[in-house]
């Protein structure tokens, strides 16, 4: 499916709304992870909007695709997307991380909110995805896909590579993992802390089909997911090159906003930047 200019513009505007929500939520709660939420917000939105097979009126529909947010610290992005799609009330977003809120610091299973499982202890989502994909194969559900969003930093975890080995062993072509390759983890750049490169060849050597794409380009993302679904007898990895803190200039490509909320001045400046970019999109300049 190729996006029309109008569709692409609307998707981009939606994504900027989501980014504003992310920043508001984190600013209000004065805790959370802006950098890794801004990087993958567009990716999660495209998944929910254009890729995942879901029934809005039936959260536990047995034929639904699964989405596992392995990088659970991007919870604000997930919640904001679920709100945009209509699965979470917008009012609820501002309760992020608050006492008595369903919107926990890291996601927990919540059938009503469409959260399949708890995540946040890093390195676990791919194994969970392997189990879901094996189960779908066992039930001969040919049209059911399992999507797992991984952070690049969490690839340091050994369990990821156990899962990678097993997915290829069991020919799980219904498992599509996506790496948010933004290049930063808490203590610094991924290459400085625990080098990942050459990343694509590592996964290829584990028996995965690897697709590399510019995750900021929505058409390319959609094309990547379509390509992934055509692969047979191999699990698929999409290395999505993204920008930590994307679209807020002083949060981009830095580790500083991995897990730190913006202060008032930073918040106001960030919202101003997002508003400016939205105008640019509306006026066709971006």
């Amino acid at each position: 499916m190729k996006l029309s200019k109008k569709e692409e513009t609307q998707l981009m505007l939606d994504i900027f709304d989501i980014k504003e929500d992310i920043l508001k939520m984190i600013y209000r709660s004065q805790s959370g992870h802006p950098g890794g939420s801004l990087s993958c917000a567009n990716l999660i939105y495209i998944l929910y909007k254009n890729v995942l097979k879901l029934k809005p009126e039936e959260p536990q529909w047995k034929e639904r695709d699964y989405f596992i947010l392995s990088k659970g610290h991007a919870a604000p992005a997930l919640y904001a997307v679920l709100s945009k799609i209509g699965f979470i009330d917008k009012d609820k977003l501002m309760t992020l991380r608050a006492y008595n809120s369903e919107l926990q610091g890291h996601p927990i299973k919540n059938e009503k909110l469409r959260i399949e499982i708890i995540t946040g202890s890093l390195g676990m989502g791919l194994s969970i995805g392997v189990g879901c994909a094996l189960s779908a194969k066992l039930d001969k559900k040919k049209d059911k896909y399992v999507y797992v969003l991984l952070g690049d930093g969490e690839l340091n975890e050994g369990a990821i590579w156990e899962a990678a080995m097993s997915a290829a062993h069991y020919n799980l072509d219904n498992l599509i993992a996506i790496i948010d390759r933004n290049g930063f983890q808490i203590d610094g750049s991924t290459e400085e802390i625990m080098a990942l490169e050459p990343l694509a060849s590592k996964w290829k050597s584990f028996g995965w089909e690897v697709i590399e794409l510019d995750g900021s380009n929505l058409s390319e993302l959609i094309k990547g997911f379509n390509r992934a679904k055509k692969v047979i007898k191999k699990p698929i990895l999409i290395i999505s090159y993204l920008i930590k803190g994307a679209d807020v200039s002083f949060m981009e490509n830095t580790r500083l906003f991995h897990g730190r909320p913006p202060n008032k001045e930073e918040f106001v400046a960030a919202m101003g930047e997002l508003e400016f970019l939205k105008d640019e999109i509306r006026e066709g300049r971006l």
Binding site: I117, S127, I128, G131, M165
Partner: protein, 312 residues
Amino acid sequence: MVELSLRDVFGNLLVEFGKKYEDIIVLDADLSSSTRTSKFAKEYPNRFFNMGIAEQNMMGSALGFAISGKIPIVSGFTIFTTGRAWDFIRLACHDNLNIKIITTHSGIVGEDGSTHHALEDLSLMASLPNLTILSPADDVELRKMFEHVIEIKGPIYMRLPRGGFSRVHDDDYQFSTDHIDVLKDGSDICLMGCGYGTELAYHSVQSIEQKLNVSLKVINLSTIKPINKVKLLKHVKDLKGVIIIEEHNIYCGIGSIIAKMIAETKPLPMRFIGINDVFVESGERSELLEKYGLNENVLMEKINKLMEFTKN
């Protein structure tokens, strides 16, 4: 005395229940011939998944199967399954996922030595909310427990030994997690244990009673969590003391759990038999049980001293 290997019984039960419940799938970490999940693998090859020597991924996959509506039974050696994959088990417990962790080679395994003995698993597991923890005393109880394991919706951990325990139950025994399994009544001291602890208490009790002129009660604590506290305390409140016997580190095992319950209500003198916070080396299981004081003589001595203590 009848003594069936509990892992053999487990293997047979998997096949039996696999037929009845099509949602059961079994995962193992390259130990299927040891854990006897190989029997299920042979019968239902499509529903058996050998995940290789990778306990974390095995457990993580079980979480995925559980959210897909299956009943995953995860097996392997006790110490590796509970230890290596603990963080995954913790998350499964958080979301109350329907996973069944049934491991063999619990307690002292024998010649394989300290890396393979599982003397810390109860500490790891008992601190997890929502988890049901079971430890059958014999093959009769294991069979009766199995129905509950499948019927209970939620995470379960069952601790099996490498070998077996001589029978303490008749065939008509009925298991319930809510029930306190009193194997023998008595009025002085209660001996309480699970697995080997139950076996030791039950089979030593007659001779110790005669030698020491004491009346002993024996409770098989096969449901380690959740324990029906009210019922359990009723059984011990009028006694002079309680002795816990466990094939586990004396810290943070069933002794610690029961001591807390008793301390909070009507405190009673308690004594503990178990592995005294050390690592255990290689050797024949019987030799090691002897060396580390999990035997009838030590039990008798503890009872004798506790009786003396209660007189003062």
